[in-house]
Amino acid sequence: MDIKISNLTKKYGAQRAVDNISFIVKTGEVLGFLGPNGAGKTTTMKAITTYLSPTSAEITVGSFSIDEQAEEIRKCIGYLPENNPLYQDMPVIDYLKFVAKLHGIRKSEVKDRILEMVDLCGLEGEKHKKIIELSKGYKQRVGLAQALIHNPEVLILDEPTAGLDPNQIIEIRKLIKKIGKEKTVILSSHILAEVEATCDRILIINKGKIVADGTSEELKKHAGGAEVIKVKIEDGDVNDIFTALQSIDSVEVVDIFNKNKNTFEIQSKKEHSSKRKVFNLCVEKGWVLTELSPLETKLEDIFRELTLN
């Protein structure tokens, strides 16, 4: 099921939490939602799940519109809200049964679905405990289990790995990737590595506006452009090397990485490469080049560049 959002705006008083954003998510796509706190990620997700009514928007999930067929949409969405609210006083099994019933799963199938979810989310040992007794990671799994129990076409996860330990994070990422092959998934996260690892497409949102949209490679290509290399040159005076490097015509900036180890970071001018020139310089001066490695533009840098202003 495709999700189509056009001109979504949500105002709280005079403040625009989300300002006229539009995007489409296709079936089989995992979309990562990135942005600093208060950028409008959660608001957008709440609007898709019909929990919030936007100030103005046209949102369709499959062929259903949020204005007229809200209930149809809710049937096909699995949603894990931010902070993972749960009925703390209920045992895990009872809670899942409650959610299954609300989704109208047939009585004969309820038990199977619950067992499948318990298995999938690794809740076997905890299923008879009350939710309040569970650790944060297990609560998060219960949150995922309730979102998946009706086998939804669309999955919306607001910070799904918050509070999980590294092993669990990897498991959940695998799970999301697996689910994402057939379904439409939107997830938000602060952890850039996570978005890079799980998502086919990344949407960076800042102050209610989309500032970047594309695969992580595309984003890097856009933001980067200039070549950045890390070199280590030995057998020479640091200051001499520094000035010599700076005098290469294709070099834009030279940074001393670590004074003792003679490591430099060299950023070339756009669409120029300085690798060969650095090598030739070393040969000419009799310095030894012990390390030369390209530095990739990291998603962190792109994120900071786009959202810090």
């Binding site: 799940t49 809710r74 969405i77 609210p85 009925y87 703390q88 006083d89 009872d94 409650f98 609300l102």
Partner: protein, 238 residues
């Protein structure tokens, strides 16, 4: 309808799991039993085989106890954020409101059913007016439903249960006693109006065994108003 039952079931089991239900039942039976049989203008003092004393006591105990049951119904969901879970499932606001209303009404029904032994005992003591007893119970159920509906409405505003309790008492006290005080102090149209708005007037006539459509309309429209108000508050929060 199925969703209403599912939600009502969850609420009921939550009442019983949190001991709230047991505390409420014990306190209600304790209070009403004490004043019906042992103290004040009790049954032996009145020297009539009637449950009027019990109905009078229950009228006040329910007034104070029901807000304690309803105060958490929506305030707690608002506070913990579980309302978001509920409303992003294929469930309408109305189903949530009706589910919660039903669960509390069932609990009150259980509480009232547990006082049936009073009725049986009194009917052994003398000639009891069976019709008046049943319509009295109907009256208690109806005022309970009104206070539940007001209580849910009060609970929907806030994330704080105490606010829910106090607000429900504040709204309730007007119907419970203030309107009838105003009515007794004024004449003509104003007096008539407040007389009609007063719960005690309607409850007295129904507990005497007179089931008038005028009273039924009064109770049902108050219940409906409370529920519709709750739905409106929920919708406004979106």
């Amino acid at each position: 309808m199925r969703n209403v039952i599912t939600i009502a079931n969850r609420e009921l089991s939550s009442f019983f799991n949190s001991l709230m239900a047991y505390i409420m039942l014990i306190l209600f039976l304790g209070f009403s039993g004490f004043f019906t049989w042992l103290y004040g203008s009790d049954i032996f003092f009145v020297k009539q085989a009637s449950l009027t004393a019990f109905f009078g006591i229950a009228y006040w105990t329910l007034f104070f106890f029901i807000p304690a049951l309803t105060m958490r119904l929506l305030a707690e969901e608002n506070r913990s954020g579980t309302i978001e879970l509920l409303l992003t499932k294929p469930v309408s606001n109305w189903q949530v409101v009706l589910g919660k209303f039903t669960s509390t009404l069932v609990l009150i029904f259980i509480a009232l059913a547990l006082t049936i032994p009073y009725y049986i005992t009194v009917s052994y003591l003398g000639n009891i007016d069976h019709g008046a007893v049943w319509s009295g119970y109907l009256g208690l159920l109806l005022i309970s439903a009104v206070y539940i509906s007001i209580g849910i409405f009060a609970s929907s505003f806030s994330t704080n249960q105490i606010v829910g309790y106090l607000l429900a008492l504040f709204i309730g006290i007007f119907f419970q006693i203030i309107f009838s005080l105003i009515a007794s102090g004024s004449h003509g149209f104003i007096g008539e109006l407040f007389n009609y708005l007063s719960m005690s007037v309607h409850f007295e006539s129904i507990s005497r065994g007179v089931i008038d459509s005028k009273d039924l309309i009064y109770f049902l429209s108050l219940i409906f108003l409370g529920l519709i108000g709750t739905e409106a508050v929920m919708e406004k929060k979106k």
